[in-house]
Amino acid sequence: MRNVAIIGCGQTKHSARRRDVNLAEMVGDAVWNALEDAQVTPQEVDAFTVGNMQGFGGVAQPEQWLGDWIGAAGKPVLRVATGGSTGGCVAQAAFYAVASGLYDIAVATAWEKHSDSKEPGATTGLSHVALGNTINMINCGLSFKHLLSMTLVGAAAGVACYQAMYYMYRSGSRVEHLDMVAAKDRRNAAKNKYAHLQWPGCTPEDIAKTEWVAYPFRYGHICPASDGASAMVLACEDIARKRCKKPVWIKGLAAYSDEENQIMSEGAGGIGILDASQQIGATMSAIKAYRMAGIRDPQKEIDVAEIYQPFPNQELIFAERLGLFDEGTAWRALEKGETDINGRMPCDPSGGVNATNAIGSSALQRILECALQIMGKAEEHQVPKEVHNAVATGWGGATNYIAVTVLGDSPY
């Protein structure tokens, strides 16, 4: 296998409504920033991998229209999309493009522009995930009351609601811990100039004052819907060593699919997963990625983690699945401040998805933020210690997609 490194990162400012740019300009900005960071000209790029959730912006196959803005005309472009984990899968596709030996320099870019859809926010797109199944259920005489309860806890928040309950039941953590995660992420986001929901000095008490969505979630727990794009330049070893002072190596990666966790499943049937916080796919992906990276003890060897956590419980669940904490103890580490920006195992120093969620881009941003930490370019939210290895996740679908990427400052 060829070694592959990230040699440049670029992202745009994220906010609820980027009305100053159109979709193509926004993606162009991110790609341009990445190329500038990598000191690579557009002509030198061999291949592009792109992705977003096309239902959310209302443009089908947007890369065909905006290809010219990112210099992709006349180049191979591969579009990858897997729901929330899209960005992670896009970056992994770029890794494979270079690792396969077919291409030397690849650009991975992912984006989302929610505000282009008629109903700002992810609702329009998300309701389409299971619309066919829901209509089938209504045709089979689903009561309106039941539909109401499904809508209440429906879509992604619904699965996450149950997931949070399962985790809390199993680990003994409480809603206060969700408040603590959300507060930490918003504080961290305040140090990240690209982040969306910035709240300097946010405390768990502030979060606890927000209204309930459905127990155990409050409005303060839930991620925003952002507009934004991010991009990375990946290169093979020769070029990376020549062009970049501190290339960040992609050492291990995996994306194991789990069974979709939604009661309205294929043909509106049930699913075999009893515990939505189990996430076997994440455990399997982490094992595979660590084995590839040669990491034996993630608790000691990983220095920083960027976890995909649109809902705060996921930071705790996935930190355990990634082996950063023992099973059921992530919330204790949180209490001790170990996951803070200056803690023993900083989780989401950038503020994570909880503060910035441009869905397609979010998982790519996790990898990008890890790369920034290793390069030492994270500016205000740089963790105050040496970073050798970092791990990033993406999470999508109905809890069934996961993309784990392990990065390091040396390829071995």
């Binding site: 296998m1 065909q64 229209w65 010219d68 990858v80 999309a81 729901g83 699919s257 294929e266």
Partner: protein
């Protein structure tokens, strides 16, 4: 290429309009079929790549419910949101990287879910063409056809001859959707006009269908099968947006083909490749594809079809399976071409077999074939 990768198994559905199967069942059947054809079980598979799109599927995260049906449970899975040939291209990269050994590639579309021509208008520049409301994939193809035909003096009869050839070929193919063994040029020219000069029989039908293949690394392929079909070369390219490209030729296909030829060591495709399976969503595109693939000089595609050189018993048979005009389950179409090319090499194309050692498969996606991918397959 650093290592070698082979196609070791394949399966496809009986493409038809309005198939009486859920997408999950359809996907399950072809995935099972491909694994059975390869003689391996799901446990042997390392990675799964599927192809479908959210718009064509009418649901966000189109692979959400088909992941289990394709057999991706606890497998390294990803979805390519375009033609299945791109999924094969991604799976190839995954194997070449050395991280994975055996890949299952699956692509499907049920054209009956959403009108794909409606979807195509959503791929247009949302700030200009879409607001204008005139363009969709058919009218854009009409523009393309007119530009091409005017520039090189191609007549409608010559375009119709492509349709006649492919629809007659499709009649021999069990899996094809639109089979017309007795079709004539007159019949094609008298079929319903959509946008001049695009007619019902010069554009691909809207089909429901699925297709799957199994790819394996050299070592595994030799263990699995005695008749591996090697991928000798691959190339892919995306053109500029509709407004910013020369519509009368397929630049991106030309570049993709050159990359693939270079990798496979093909200098004279006319002589060195025995059979071609191309995705011609419209009859005139096949003539343009001849030129982009370097089978003839620019503007001379009409000569090839007139002389019958691309017919089943011609010197360079193109689309003996009937091509996309025979069946077009959009995301699966390109992957079906790969399968049909592999069938020719394995000698399993019952009824339309051509003696072949090397074949070319082409997949396209987007308005006026904006994205293209080319595979060169061989038996050696």
């Amino acid at each position: 290429m650093a290592g070698r990768v082979a196609i070791v198994g394949y399966a496809q559905s009986h493409h038809q309009h309005d198939i009486q199967m859920t997408r999950e069942d359809m996907v399950f059947e072809v995935a099972k079929g491909a694994l059975r054809n390869a003689g391996i079980s799901r446990e042997d598979v390392d990675t799964v790549i599927t192809a479908s799109t959210d718009f064509l599927d009418g649901r966000t995260i189109s692979n959400l419910y088909t992941s289990m049906a394709v057999g991706a449970y606890l497998k390294d899975e990803s979805k390519v949101e375009e033609d299945g040939a791109f999924a094969a291209y991604y799976a190839l990269m995954r194997i070449l990287s050395g991280v994975h050994d055996i890949a299952l590639v699956e692509a499907h579309t049920q054209g009956s879910v959403v009108n794909p021509h409606l979807v195509s208008s959503y791929t247009l520049d949302p700030l200009f063409e879409r607001q204008y409301g005139f363009l969709n994939d058919i009218s854009a193809a009409a523009l393309q056809a007119r530009m091409y035909m005017n520039k090189y003096g191609v007549s409608e009869e010559q375009v119709a001859m492509v349709a006649v050839k492919n629809l007659m070929n499709a009649a021999d193919n069990l899996n094809a959707h639109r089979k017309m063994p007795d079709v004539t040029v007159e019949e094609v020219l008298n079929s319903k006009l959509y946008y001049d000069p695009i007619r019902e029989l010069t554009m691909s039908p809207v089909s429901d269908g699925a297709c799957a293949i199994v790819l394996a690394s050299e070592e595994k392929a030799k263990e699995i099968t005695d008749i591996p079909v090697w991928i000798e070369g691959v190339g892919s390219c995306q053109d500029g947006y509709l407004r910013d490209r020369s519509l009368y030729k397929l630049d991106s296909l030309q570049k993709a083909a050159q990359d693939a030829y270079g990798m496979a060591g093909v200098s004279n495709p006319f002589a060195q490749i025995d059979v071609f399976e191309v995705s011609e969503k419209y009859a005139h595109e096949e003539l343009m594809i001849y030129e982009a693939l370097g089978l003839c000089r620019e503007g001379k595609g009409k000569t090839l079809i007139e002389k019958g050189m691309t017919g089943k018993d011609g010197e360079i048979p193109v689309n003996p399976s009937g091509g996309a005009l025979g069946a077009d389950p959009i995301c699966a179409t390109g992957l079906i071409r790969v399968v049909e090319a592999a069938k020719q090499i394995r000698g399993e194309a019952n009824g339309y077999q051509i003696p072949a050692y090397r074949a070319l498969a082409h997949g396209q996606f987007g308005i006026c074939a904006q994205k293209n991918v080319v595979f060169i397959l061989g038996s050696e």
